[in-house]
């Protein structure tokens, strides 16, 4: 039956040869290769739950009187966007689950991209020939962050509305064209003419997701074409890939993993409340909530804005709001340009133009590892700076001291991190057994009072690593002699 339909398709499209190669595609077995899969599967969850949300969400700033089942809001004037999101949460069956799953999936999506990117960076997987895929990946991160911001702006609640207000002012801070960009995007002076919610909506549900889907296809296409990188090991060279085959081993593992990722997102969605917009209330431009904290992936920008000194510059008949432009436009601009350019920069610095299919151990590239750790520390510290007020309250110190501490820390700590990391890498290089899997030993005491150590048998999985790898075979019970040929080739009866 399967054979017959395959023949039908193959007669018309000729898929058997390529398909077989695809089924035999080898995936290296290393846990760190699953990080990208988390990103992929949470994006799938985003698409699925997002489509559900579009069926109920109304992208409109029009004011209506709330009549739904959430009593504290009854009779209040709210926007249709806000009312419909409240409706999604209380009046649509499974709506709250889907909304919270969408939000959790977004957080996990961006988190896993970041960690995935770190693994690619620290192992040098971005080197020739994979620079393009690195660029595609960074683009997806950038678009993902943007889409996350647009998404949590959609409910039009007090917290996210404040975020939109801040975004407007950030646009305004751009020299020369800033106010034009802000006016064009919002249709006027803040809060604009009500067009911003429908605009954010269409960008959020169609334009950016479509681009991400395209990039994702390119990302995976390049992956298949260029094949995976792998860590050095027995039988592994620059000219092969060792691991388990697409079908059936990898397919089973990754399908299971997809279900488990989805399960995690839905469990979080049910048990860890996220973005309870009914508690924040509807957005009004003259109101403010005291718990203004953006989603985590925007935290670094918020932190940068907080610790920046108030360096507005007035000159040549113009105002240069550097206290906004530097931390909120230039800083992320530099960070992302550095991300995009890194593979090319590194090739230039090391003059290394060779193909690389075997991965580095981070300690063997101390400079790269130190540079990465240093940038990570900078971003992490700026991120922490987005809770200066919380920290001041918690440690009961004046806000002023926390602020000044952070201003010093964000400069000193990254530099320190660079040298410390570099030193750690150097030390580890000298230590032979670092990172090797340790075999447990059994210590026995003989009647004579002597201690003996015996190595325990290796874990069965480790045994596999000792075997010489072979091309993916067809599994059969036994080879009937009349079908076997000298070269390990099977004759097929038809």
């Amino acid at each position: 039956m399967i054979d017959k339909s395959l023949r039908w398709v193959d007669d018309r499209l000729g898929v058997a040869k390529g398909g077989r190669t695809f089924l035999d595609k080898i995936f290296p077995d290393h846990w760190s290769f699953m990080l990208g899969e988390i990103a992929l599967y949470s994006f799938v969850v985003l698409l699925a739950t997002g489509v559900f949300l579009t069926l109920y969400y109304v992208p409109s700033a029009k004011e209506v009187i709330y009549h739904g089942s959430y009593l504290p809001l009854r009779g209040q004037r709210v926007s249709e966007a806000y009312a419909s999101t409240i409706g999604l949460s209380f009046d649509v069956k499974s709506g709250l689950l889907m909304r919270q799953a969408h939000h959790w999936a977004a957080d996990i999506f961006l988190g896993s991209i970041a960690v995935h990117m770190a693994r690619v960076f620290f192992t040098g997987a971005f080197r020739k020939p994979r620079e393009l895929n690195w660029v595609v990946g960074v683009s997806m991160l950038l678009l993902g962050i943007l889409n996350g911001f647009l998404g949590y702006s959609l409910p039009d609640d007090l917290v996210s509305g404040t975020g939109i207000r801040i975004a407007y002012s950030i646009l305004e801070s751009i020299p020369i064209v800033g106010s034009y960009i802000a006016f064009f995007l919002f249709g006027g002076n803040y809060p604009g003419n009500g067009i911003i919610i429908p605009r954010f909506f269409i960008i959020h549900v169609l334009i950016i997701p479509a681009i991400i889907v395209g990039l994702l296809a390119a990302h995976l296409g390049l992956l298949v074409k260029q094949k995976h990188t792998q860590f050095p090991g027995k039988g592994r060279t620059e000219h092969n890939v060792v691991g388990s085959p697409m079908f059936p081993t990898f397919m089973a593992k990754t399908t299971g993993f997809m279900f488990m990722t989805t399960a995690t997102i839905f469990l979080l969605a049910g048990f860890a409340q996220i973005n309870p917009i009914w508690q924040f209330g509807p957005y009004q431009p003259y109101q403010i909530s005291y718990a203004v904290q953006p989603d985590w992936y925007m935290g670094w920008l918020d932190g940068a804005l907080r610790i920046m000194p108030s360096w507005e510059f007035v000159g040549w008949g113009h105002t240069w709001p550097l206290e906004v432009f530097l931390p909120a436009v230039l800083f992320p601009g530099i960070v992302f340009n550095l991300f995009f350019a890194w593979p090319f920069l590194e090739a230039k610095l090391t003059k290394d133009r060779a193909y690389h299919n075997l991965l580095d151990r981070p300690r063997d590239r101390p400079k790269r590892t130190a540079a990465g750790a240093s940038v990570f520390m900078l971003l992490f510290m700026v991120f922490c700076a987005s809770s200066t007020d919380v920290l001041a309250n918690f440690f009961n110190v004046p806000l002023q001291s926390v602020l000044i501490t952070f201003r010093i820390i964000v400069i000193v700590l990254p530099i320190l991190t660079f040298f410390v990391t570099y030193q750690i890498c150097k030390e580890l290089q000298g230590y032979e057994a670092a990172g090797k899997r340790k075999h447990p030993v059994v210590v026995t005491l003989t009647p004579e009072g002597e201690y003996r150590t015996t190595e325990m048998a290796p874990h069965p999985g480790d045994g596999h690593e000792e075997i010489e790898p072979i091309p993916v075979p067809t599994f059969i019970n036994l080879v009937p002699p009349e079908l076997a040929t000298g070269s390990g080739v099977r004759r097929v009866m038809r």
Binding site: L97, Q100, T162, I166, S169, I174, G178, S179, A182, F183, F184, L185, F186, N189, I195, K227, N240, V241, G243, S244, P245, A252, K253, T255, G256, F259, M260, T261, A263, F266, L267, A269, G270, F271, P285, Y286, I288, D302, R306, P309, S310, E312, H318, T319, V324, T388, L399, L403, G461, H464, I470, V472, T474, F475, I476, N477, R490, R491, V492, R494
Partner: protein, 313 residues
Amino acid sequence: MSDESPQLTGALPVAALDDPHLQPYAAHPERVNAVAVLSMVVGFLGFIGFGITFWISDQVQWEAATLGVGLFGLGFGVAAWGKYLMPQGPFVEERHDFHSTEAERDAMSAAVLERGGIVVKRRKVLGGLFALGAGTFGVVAAFPLIRSLGPKPGRALFTTNWKKDSLLVSLEGRPVKVSDLDVGGVLTVFPKGFEGSSPDQTILIRLADIAPGEPPFPLAPPGRSDWTVRGYVAYSKMCTHLGCPVGLYQEQTQQLVCPCHQSIFNVVAGAIPEFGPAPRPLPQLPLKVDAQGFLRSQAGYDQPVGPGFWERP
């Protein structure tokens, strides 16, 4: 089908089931098998549970729990099957260079440069005109895309609806009487007719109870004491940092705090920023009392309100 003679259909390497490459990862495959079976059964029950929950109660925890158990059970079972029971190899696949040979590269660039070059060189005018046309199209096509989006800023960022003699009203549109606020009281006010408008939002604070005819409340420089009346002072409520409403008045220290990035403004010193990223004082609205005892503005703001922008002189 089967009456044809056996034929060779291509390289299909084989391995017998006792080949070490086909051995499962698990030391005790039967135990893993039992766990996977159990896990998938639990998963199946989870899905059934979700179906039932959906119909009988729409409770988010139950929905999540049942769905989560279903997905996790099924997923864990399949993953365990794949990881511990399926052949682990190691298997190998050769990489092939994907770059072309030098000759192929030369042929390609020759095709572009020579073939294309000759065609274009022969008809330079056509080539030039096409480039010109396509370029112009690119530029004019952007006009509607960009210019239609919204109005030009014009003077919009420089003005508010506060004019000479504007009546101060609350959000509900109620005019503010001199006797309305106690010392330490605050109220968000708008010019009458523009209740709730973002750029007009103004914070009215009563600093002291000063009798009519007495000298005005002494604001420290750069404040304007004669812009206060009867101990009332009013500032734009839009933070000069990024435009958040400066919503928190601390009476003891007489400071206005912006909760967004913790800028602090000194109310008795013309709202200069004492702390945080805000670069400028909050603009002050000059106040007066009319014959009926209602608060009005002497004039509009003397400068743009809110965050900085390029056109601001």
